[in-house]
């Protein structure tokens, strides 16, 4: 019998610990597939953050390093500059990338560092139990904004792609989502594009993925998918923000 659909060789056999309806598993699978399809698994070094995806160092079937909260782009820079022949990607959540690691993110982008960042935006701190994230929407409830994010007291969310698009440095910025099969296909295409630009020595890519966190949001997996389409994607519009390859044409 021929196996038609199984675990890609870019993922380890270890059982993932993510919650039901969480988007991490989908994005992990996409990366796991691409590591093999693009023949980069054996030269890849992945960087796991602090947050729900801290265990990514167990899940991706390639060399991995787990690093301090928010510092993945700096570690990635060190790896890529020391071993330019390696393929280097970071996998980071919104607290990691857009709060504690804002400086590292902006400066890696400004340097057009030849790395790929997979940025999971689920508008909440998942690992620590659902606190306000830099990406939590105005009015959205969290365990540290129980009546909803009050923009007077707690400020406004950070739109990472828009923010980085204000810099000359980055080569490729795109925002996608994993709420529907169609969007999942688009996400894979976007990550593949970012990976290819690194292989072609083009420089910095960041793919922001709008991703479900039913546990943190206090909703069912089905409701979470709907919420992305109906609410989240309206605040965080999807699309290609920057593609220097197209500009050059």
């Amino acid at each position: 019998m021929k196996l038609l659909f199984g675990r890609p060789a870019g993922l380890t056999e270890i059982k993932q610990r993510y919650c039901s309806g969480c988007g991490h598993g989908i994005v992990h699978r996409i990366i796991g597939e691409l590591l093999v399809e693009m023949n980069i698994r054996e030269k890849a070094i992945g960087i796991a953050p602090v947050g729900c995806s801290v265990f990514a160092d167990e899940y991706f079937n390639c060399d991995m390093i787990q690093v301090p909260h928010g510092r993945a782009p700096a570690v990635a820079t060190g790896i890529k500059r020391a071993r330019p022949e390696c393929f280097v990607f970071t996998y980071q959540g919104d607290g990691d990338l857009a709060a504690i690691g804002t400086a590292e993110t902006i400066h890696a982008a400004a340097r057009n560092e030849n790395i790929t960042i997979i940025f999971i935006n689920n508008a909440i701190y998942g690992m620590t139990g659902g606190q306000l994230a830099p990406t939590t929407l105005p009015g959205m409830r969290s365990t540290t904004s129980v009546k909803g994010r009050d923009v007077v007291k707690q400020g406004y969310p950070i739109k990472v792609c828009e923010l980085l698009n204000g810099l000359d440095g980055p080569f490729y910025l795109e925002r996608v989502a994993v709420d529907t099969p169609k969007n999942i296909i688009k996400t894979k295409k976007a990550i593949k594009t970012g990976f290819q630009y690194q292989i072609d020595n083009k420089g910095f890519s960041l793919i922001e993925v709008l991703s479900m966190c039913p546990t943190g949001w206090g909703v069912t997996p089905v409701q979470a998918k709907k919420w992305i389409a109906e609410v989240m994607a309206k605040y965080y519009p999807m699309g290609e923000f920057r593609n220097r390859a197209k500009e050059a044409k």
């Binding site: 796991a48 801290v54 060399d63 991995m64 690093v67 060190g78 020391a82």
Partner: protein, 354 residues
């Protein structure tokens, strides 16, 4: 004949780093060590290495974490406030057993303090400045010559034990010009043998993981005890010191770095006046040369510790002496310097108490 040059301490450090085969530097400007990144940017360009001026010391230490994880000899330099920012990274690096080299050209503190030479980062350096149980290997040069020589030693010790190493200098050593003898064979980075933990891409082998966490019950305790065993080995094998006229001494001065240079001048005045003073200069601050300190305390009644701080190393001296001898102190915190006459006067005072 070896080449002799007149060099700034900070420049000597850079040459020592290049000589040690390091081809990766990341750092952020801070006085009094700015000559390090400035000169390093030129030298790394000449030797085909990597120079990165970072957005912060946080970024710098984490770039080292990445580079060193792939097997590169990687170093950064900074001064006290910047080194404080690196403590998070150093804790992760120590917890992941990765060798890196960090130089601290210490200035007056706490806070922004001033830019004068100081030794007030001793506790932070030897007691583990970040969170968790760990130690960094700490080397204390007292001249431009040692600033040139210690990077190689630092990398060798760091790699031998898979542990971060620190060079603890100060603003005076960094800014002072002295003769430096360029000696020994320069290390070719390509000659360094590949280790079984380097991240290089998993072609032809099992994948490798570098991490500092373990959530399995009991495993982190186990891992920490393994590291404790490593620390015991370092303590047993790597205590380094210089003893100056300690064999016939009736009073022993303990001082490192700049304080040791000044204390040695005080020692000379005492010897000219017929007082038998010796100097014990710790070269490794961690591991502290406790064995020789303890040995000396079995026959010598009085010790004088000289530090540019409120008194930090003195605690390790007292621990090594275990109450056998009296320990006196001269301290200058906040960027103050001791002087030779002051050291001599203190020796007279100690003798007068007999």
């Amino acid at each position: 004949m070896a080449e002799k040059q007149l060099m700034y301490g900070n420049h000597a450090l850079v040459e020592g780093v290049i000589y040690a085969g390091c081809r990766f530097f990341a750092g952020y400007p801070i006085t009094p060590q700015n000559e390090v990144p400035e000169y390093m940017s030129i030298r790394m360009n000449e030797v085909g290495g990597v120079f990165l001026q970072t957005e912060s010391e946080l970024a710098a230490i984490n770039m080292l974490f990445g580079a060193a994880s792939t097997g590169a000899r990687a170093m950064t330099s900074s001064s006290s406030p910047g080194i404080s920012l690196m403590q998070e990274g150093l804790s992760y690096i120590a917890g992941a057993d990765v060798p890196v080299l960090v130089a601290n050209v210490v200035r007056g503190g706490p806070g922004l303090g001033n830019i004068a030479p100081a030794q007030s980062d001793y506790f932070q350096s030897v007691k583990s400045g970040g969170h968790g149980d760990y130690h960094t290997i700490v080397l204390a040069p007292n001249s431009a010559q040692e600033l040139f020589e210690f990077p190689k030693l630092g990398f060798e010790l760091a790699e031998k034990y898979r542990n971060p190493a620190l060079i603890l200098a100060d603003g005076l050593l960094g800014q002072m010009m002295e003769h430096v003898e360029i000696k020994g064979e320069p290390v070719d980075p390509k000659s360094l043998p590949e280790k079984d933990w380097w991240l290089t891409g998993c072609k032809g082998r099992e994948r490798r993981v570098i991490r500092s966490y373990d959530l399995r019950p009991g495993k982190l305790e186990e891992w920490n005890w393994q590291r404790w065993e490593k620390y015991q080995k370092i303590i047993k094998n790597e205590q380094r010191y210089e003893g100056i006229k300690i064999d016939d001494a009736e009073i022993i001065i303990v001082a490192y770095g700049t304080s040791a240079r000044i204390a040695e001048a005080g020692l000379r005045i005492a010897r000219e006046n017929g007082i038998k003073v010796g100097l014990l200069r710790p070269i490794t601050l961690w591991p502290f040369p406790a064995d020789i300190t303890g040995e000396l305390s079995k026959k010598i009644e009085n010790f004088l510790v000289v530090e540019m701080s409120l008194g930090q190393m003195i605690e390790d001296v007292k621990l090594a002496i275990e109450g056998r001898s009296k320990v006196y102190f001269i301290g200058h915190p906040g960027g103050g310097l001791p002087n030779a006459q002051e050291v001599y006067n203190k020796i007279l005072e100690i003798r007068g108490k007999k």
